[in-house]
């Protein structure tokens, strides 16, 4: 049996989606439990909750757009925009709560000077804490993370919809499953909290690359086997 290009597209695109998801896990500002008390920078929840929320929103927009277009770039960007909006709204309201509720200024705990706006960070940081709120650089990093994650999820969705010939619902849920499987490996790499690309922990990103690629390839092979089995009858 000759290998059709569609099956190779599934493997390639799902792997790219997994790598984008892994990158998103490293870019999103995750604060965890310390952020809930205002003693760490980032959104006050775990990596996978943030990513799941972002990618579900992205898949929602991508699925809507894919009902009237077959353009892969358009579907991907629509998913990315949906996820980005979700991340930005979350970060914005987290800042409102931190600023007007807790009365703390958004400050990065990992860098002395904001690498983008050059604003001073150290003098606003409460001693003994790890920064608080979502400062400018973290907001930009989170935006990039949402964009990357949404694009990855939407790419997987498009692949499963058009190359594996799943229905809309099946493609969404399978894309979610594969995205989660590859993003969680990346989230274990950052161990709890991360601020974004300026964080020293971001330098560990290469360690998560090979595991994510392998897991994505294995998951895409599962989809390929399922596609062949479904086509058989």
């Amino acid at each position: 049996m000759a290998i059709e290009p569609e099956l190779i597209y599934i493997v390639v695109y799902v792997t790219i989606g997994g790598v984008l998801g892994s990158l998103a896990a490293h870019l999103c500002p995750v604060g965890g439990a310390p952020a809930a008390m205002g003693t760490a920078t980032g959104i006050a929840t775990g990596t996978i909750q943030i990513l799941l929320g972002a990618v579900v929103t992205g898949l929602f927009t991508a699925a809507t757009v894919s009902t009237f277009t077959n353009n892969i770039v358009l579907v991907m960007i629509s998913g990315a925009v949906g996820a980005t909006i979700m991340m930005q709204v979350t970060m914005f309201f987290a800042n409102i709560l931190y600023g007007f509720g807790c009365g703390i200024t958004p400050t990065s705990g990992r860098v002395a000077v904001d690498p983008i706006t050059k604003a001073d960070q150290t003098s606003y940081k409460t001693p003994q804490t790890d920064g608080h709120g979502i400062p400018d650089v973290v907001f930009i990093s989170g935006t990039l993370g949402g964009f990357s994650g949404g694009a990855g999820g939407a790419l997987m969705y498009y692949t499963l919809l058009h190359y594996a010939h799943f229905t809309y619902g099946t493609a969404v849920i399978a894309a979610l499953g594969i995205f989660v499987a590859s993003a969680i490996i990346a989230s274990y790499n950052i161990r709890g909290t991360i601020e974004g690309f300026q964080d020293p922990k971001f330098k560990r990103v290469h360690l998560a690359l090979i595991p994510t690629v392998v897991i994505s390839i294995l998951c895409s092979l599962v989809v390929v086997i399922a596609t062949i089995a479904l086509r058989g009858a």
Partner: protein, 297 residues
């Protein structure tokens, strides 16, 4: 003085008895309520029963519900044994992973369901379980290996393998309950495209990740933690029963199948929820009521 004390002592147990009779209808067996002595035993029992409940899709929904309880118990136990070493990203992450793997494995299993099936018996779906175990093993190796992510959690490989398998079983059993068969087209029509899958995804994650997330702490006890997944599976059974009734997809084309699942879920939920609350009350140092909710001693 002494007589008074004696009287009070005599009176006290009586009062307690009356209160207990009022509050709990079930006998108090929490003390010697033990799951199979160890994690391996639970895994083997749950695995065997889940295989049987998954393959024979013509079984009544209640029996599949029992299999579902064992699958989520198995998953919650695996979450417990990995998370007690500290994952760093929170307990829910590994529960989401189990159901994420489960969805992929279930789709593969469903694709193979048509091979080698005899009537309503689908041994082909087990291929999805096996492959997900393999992928779980690989991801466990990468997470634990010092070269890559280096989580250094003992036996993480095995736990991730079991999580993949338990997640796949849980997903397959939920599909099987709602559709009454494991044919790909039927599952796509009745589960995926109707959106019931969203409930299944989130409630499956809840059943696996929530127990340890809620109970973790220095005084965590395995038997007490494992009461929670059973209780949550009762809730899942109620929702699945309602969706069976609404979709009308019982293999027996009868209402009693869905109704019995709802009743079963309700009984499981009430029994295990009250038992869990009582166990917590008994094992804690003190319960201080706020006055809003009546405390049970």
């Amino acid at each position: 003085m002494a007589a008074e004390e004696k009287k009070a002592e005599e009176k006290k147990p009586e009062e307690k008895k009356v209160e207990e009779e009022v509050v709990e209808a079930k006998p108090k067996i929490t003390d010697h309520f033990k799951f199979p002595p160890d994690e391996t035993g639970l895994a083997i029992i749950a695995g065997v029963i889940c295989v049987l409940a998954t393959i024979f899709t013509a079984l009544p929904a209640v029996i599949k519900g029992l299999g579902l309880i064992l699958a989520t118990l198995w998953g919650a136990d695996c979450v417990r044994k990995t998370s007690k070493y500290g994952l760093g990203t929170g307990v829910p992450s590994i529960g989401v992973m189990a159901i994420g793997y489960g969805v992929i494995g279930a789709i593969l299993g469903l694709a193979f369901a048509r091979y080698g099936n005899v009537g309503q018996i689908f041994p082909g779906v087990l291929l999805g379980v096996v492959l997900m175990g393999l992928i779980g093993l690989v991801s466990g190796y990468f997470s634990n290996s010092v070269k890559w992510i280096a989580m250094k959690i003992p036996r993480l490989e095995r736990a991730m393998m079991e999580l993949g398998m338990a997640g796949t079983f849980a997903n397959l059993l939920m599909y099987s309950i709602v559709t009454g068969s494991l044919r790909f087209d039927a599952v796509v029509t009745w589960v995926m495209d109707t959106g019931v899958i969203a409930f299944m995804f989130i409630l499956g994650v809840l059943a696996m990740a929530h127990p340890y997330n809620a109970c973790l702490g220095p005084d965590e006890r395995r038997e007490r933690t494992l009461l929670v997944p059973v209780e949550i599976t009762g809730l899942i059974c109620i929702i699945l029963g309602f969706s069976m009734l609404v979709l009308g997809t019982s293999p027996f084309h009868a209402v009693w199948d869905g109704m019995s699942l709802i009743v079963f879920g309700l009984i499981v939920w009430v029994v295990f929820y009250t038992r869990y609350i009582k166990t917590c009350m008994k094992e804690c140092y003190a319960t201080v009521g706020t006055g809003l909710i009546k405390t049970i001693d």
